[in-house]
């Protein structure tokens, strides 16, 4: 058998997947998500017969918030744990490259986060169906966009975790998530500010991840879907951004002294 980049990467990915889906945090958050999503049934019942609307808007928001939490918790601790606990020694002393480790970690965590998101989505779909909203096909599209965003955030968390401690990494990640969702507003503010500030904000606007691109929940809520070209642009954006972050993470890991 020969070495291939993909095979070795998948071995790392499989290991990461197993390790993360067996983490208690994973199940605790999933349980909370389950409770939250089913609780929307009650909220729907006190909404003056806007049940389905309330369940869909809050349910999709619940899936998003919990998957963000899972991503940030698991993602920022991922590399740090490997380095701090020296488990990375096992991997890097074997015929594996830094890039394979980073990409493998990414894929493994991405798989477990995507799995939990799909699990929550199943709970959500059942809840909407039970409330009489039928099979919410479009929510699947919203979840697809969300998983793209989560992929980007996992890459971001891994990038941070190659140099920051988990808590600091989590804080950075949450900051980027907040800024990433208000870039549009930031751009609007910059229109009114001076030339220098305007340029500065413009630079930020193009460099920071624009996470609102992945938010089609309010569109889906009114049974609309983004165009195919918009969807492709978003997929490309996520792929390019994650690639840049993973390359950066690999570089930082390579330069690290163990």
């Amino acid at each position: 058998m020969k070495h291939s980049f993909i095979r070795d990467t998948l071995v790392v990915a499989k290991n990461t997947f197993k390790e993360s889906v067996r983490d208690k945090v994973f199940y605790a958050l999933f349980a909370f998500a389950f409770i939250t999503i089913t609780f929307t049934l009650f909220l729907g019942s006190i909404s003056l017969s806007e049940d389905v609307h309330v369940i869909r808007s809050l349910g999709m928001a619940g899936i998003y918030l919990f998957s963000i939490l899972i991503t940030v918790f698991l993602g920022t601790a991922l590399m740090y744990k490997e380095i701090e606990r020296r488990t990375l020694y096992f991997i890097l002393s074997k015929p594996v490259t830094h890039a394979q480790v980073v990409v493998g970690k990414f894929l493994g965590l991405f798989a477990s986060v995507a799995l939990s998101t799909l699990g929550m989505t199943a709970v959500y779909l059942a809840t909407v169906l039970y409330a009489g909203g039928g099979f919410d096909r479009l929510a699947l599209l919203a979840v697809f966009f969300e998983i793209l965003e989560l992929g980007l955030l996992i890459a971001l968390s891994i990038f941070f975790s190659t140099f920051a401690k988990p808590l600091a990494g989590a804080v950075y990640a949450i900051l980027v998530i907040y800024i990433g969702h208000s870039l549009g507003m930031l751009a609007a503010v910059s229109e009114k500010s001076g030339v220098l500030a305007h340029r500065f904000i413009q630079v930020l606007y193009y460099l920071l991840p624009n996470l609102e691109k992945f938010n089609i929940r309010d569109l889906v809520l009114y049974n609309q879907a983004p165009s195919l070209s918009a969807t492709l642009a978003v997929v490309l954006y996520a792929a390019v951004y994650a690639t840049i972050l993973l390359c950066g993470g690999t570089l930082l890991l390579k330069r690290r002294e163990f």
């Binding site: 309330v54 808007s57 918030l65 938010n215 309010d218 009114y222």
Partner: protein, 276 residues
């Protein structure tokens, strides 16, 4: 030695119990001394702030605010009728495509605080501009022009739009098309409230319509009784109680809005006042 162990375990239990009592006690003490009720108006956050902080989950934020508003309709009436319009404004600003809040605001706000009618109409207008295809928005707008502002001309405009909204229920369509055909304003009002009641999808609206219908029925009953009194005694009663003592009606009915009725002796006109 065992004696000492027993002692310390008893002491430990006593300490645990004391702490537990202190915990519950301080909570009770706090609640006793806390300001009663919710004095602060519900809307404390501007929609802009919420928009900036909700991670793009505007629809969910609007849903939560909507739940808060509809759970507190009674509290608005009692404590801060002025804030209902700004809260509803926030809901529709966060989620402009959420249609029910527009019509709900138009129907409910003037009933809670008549001075907020312009704000209610503005919310309804905004809903019309969003073009959501919800018959309730033009219908309730038309009704508000008719019932609150006594403006049949504008009412007719919205009633016509209601009738042309796709998917409008048959009863509503008939009522909207018939607008203006009733010669008596009260009859017109009664007909619309009946249509609203019969097509309501939620209990708050249904109750609101029923209360108004009951209110109108009570006024009609009292007017009839006053007329009967006049016919029997040749003069109007000085007090409404006379209708009961003279055996014309068994009792003065309870008004759903808590209105106390009176009467002018000179011309038999009914007077209305809130409270006793």
């Amino acid at each position: 030695m065992p004696e000492v162990v027993r002692h310390s375990s008893t002491a430990r239990w006593a300490l645990a119990l004391t702490l537990l009592i202190a915990l519950v006690g301080s909570q009770v003490f706090f609640d006793r001394n806390a300001p009663q009720g919710h004095d602060i108006p519900l809307s404390t956050l501007s929609p802009d702030v919420v928009r900036a902080a909700d991670l793009g989950l505007h629809g969910a934020a609007a849903s939560l605010l909507w739940l808060r508003v509809v759970q507190n309709v009674g509290m608005y009436v009692l404590q801060s009728p002025k804030t209902m319009s700004s809260d509803m404004q926030a809901v529709v600003e966060l989620d402009p495509k959420f249609s029910y809040p527009y019509s709900f605001a138009v129907l409910m706000i003037p009933g809670i605080d008549r001075s907020q009618t312009p704000q209610a109409l503005a919310i309804g207008e905004r809903g019309m501009a969003e073009n959501l295809g919800d018959w309730r928005i033009p219908y309730y707008l038309g009704f508000t022009y008719h019932f609150v502002l006594h403006d049949p001309k504008n009412a007719l405009v919205y009633m016509t739009q209601t009738a042309h909204t796709p998917g409008v229920p048959e009863g509503i369509k008939v009522s909207a098309l018939n607008y203006g055909s009733q010669t008596k304003v009260e009859e017109q009002t009664r007909e619309i409230w009946t249509a609203i009641r019969d097509n309501a999808t939620d209990d708050v609206t249904r109750q609101q319509a029923q209360d108004n219908l009951d209110h109108l029925a009570i006024i009609d009953g009292l007017k009839a009784a006053v007329a009967a009194y006049k016919a029997r005694y040749g003069t109007f009663p000085t007090r409404l109680d006379a209708l009961v003592t003279s055996g014309i009606i068994p009792a003065i009915p309870q008004d759903p809005f808590g209105i106390t009725f009176g009467i002018l002796h000179d011309n038999g006109e009914l007077t209305f006042s809130l409270g006793k």
